[in-house]
């Protein structure tokens, strides 16, 4: 029960995030959309590892089946990497703001031509 719900929200988040990334004009909102989308992807991976009635995969927490630790491991480092790439993306946004005095994607595209 928890697994499919998690999957559904993950797909929803990813969809929402990518949609916002494409649609909104302001650069910062595009990045925020990307942030949400990456959260969605991470959630998707973790949700695929979920087993019915599973508990956290730590020895000694109690009897019973556990969830799959592998996707969690993948997502763990991914989160920190998202932070790093977001930092770099923001550096570029700062640079664009200083150079062209605009954070509007359409205006920047036009100036590019």
């Amino acid at each position: 029960m928890a697994g499919p719900v998690g999957l559904a929200t993950a797909v929803g988040l990813a969809g929402l995030g990518f949609f916002v990334l494409a649609v909104r004009r302001e650069l910062i909102f595009k990045l925020l959309g990307l942030h949400v989308a990456s959260g969605g992807v991470g959630l998707f991976l973790v949700a695929t590892g979920h087993r019915p009635g599973g508990i956290a995969p730590i020895l000694g927490l109690g009897p019973g089946p556990t969830v799959d630790p592998l996707p969690q491991a993948l997502v763990l480092t991914a989160i920190v990497i998202h932070f790093a790439t977001l930092a770099l993306a923001l550096v570029y946004v700062i640079y664009l703001t200083e150079r062209h005095h605009s954070q509007d994607a359409h205006r920047l595209e036009r100036e590019e031509e």
Partner: protein, 270 residues
Amino acid sequence: MTVPLAAALTLALAAFALTRRRLLWGVIGVGAHSLALAGLLFLLSAPDVALTEAAVGFALVTFVYLLALRRTGKLVVAAVPAYPLLYPQGERVRGLEWELLERLARSLHRDLELIWASRAEVPGLLGSGEAQLACGGVLSRGGEALPSLLLVPTSLVAVRVGPGPTGAVQGCRGQDRLPPGGLLFPSQEELKDALVSGRIGTALVDLLSFRNWHLAGGLEGAEVIPVERGLHYTLLVAPGEGELLRRARELVEGLRGSGELDRLIRRYLA
């Protein structure tokens, strides 16, 4: 049982955050969404991931804020669209007040940035520090203790087409003069529509707005009653921006003294 709840919360917060108009709300919303996501991950039996997501989501949001909202070197103006004082035309902005703003920005060596807003949102934007100036056919109100700079003289008039309640634009000075039972409208266009359609009998507006309506037509036979004379369109300044107010005052006085201001008025308002 609680998983669908947490999942719904996460999605709702994400949708909320990404549909905000102001950057500040978007960033805060995504921060809240990160925390909700961390909770959801925890409920899905992934404590390591939840912990990491919570920690990074917080630090992340803090520094996105640091970047996006600390706009050093920009002059942010809350702009109320008001033809022909300050209005967008395609991708550009024009108007008398726009020219004044441009001169001010140039003299301060700062870049100009406009946030288009409604009159009602202006005090909030100035108070929160998101905008340092506000203009666009703005009449200062008694209750708003905001420093202001007088620009162009005008009056407040009541345009009467027939019997019925009185209307004014929300947040505008007309609101102060509204009798009990009066109606408020978010914008000039809606006020005019209500007047033309007969929903209201009288509208309290400034002279320029009335002139625009008159030129656009639809208000034949309207009676114009002056309500308040000796008003001015003003430039509102955020509290705490004493230096900015002083420089703006210097600029306007200079323009007034040299006759440039009259020339601009004749060009835009004749």
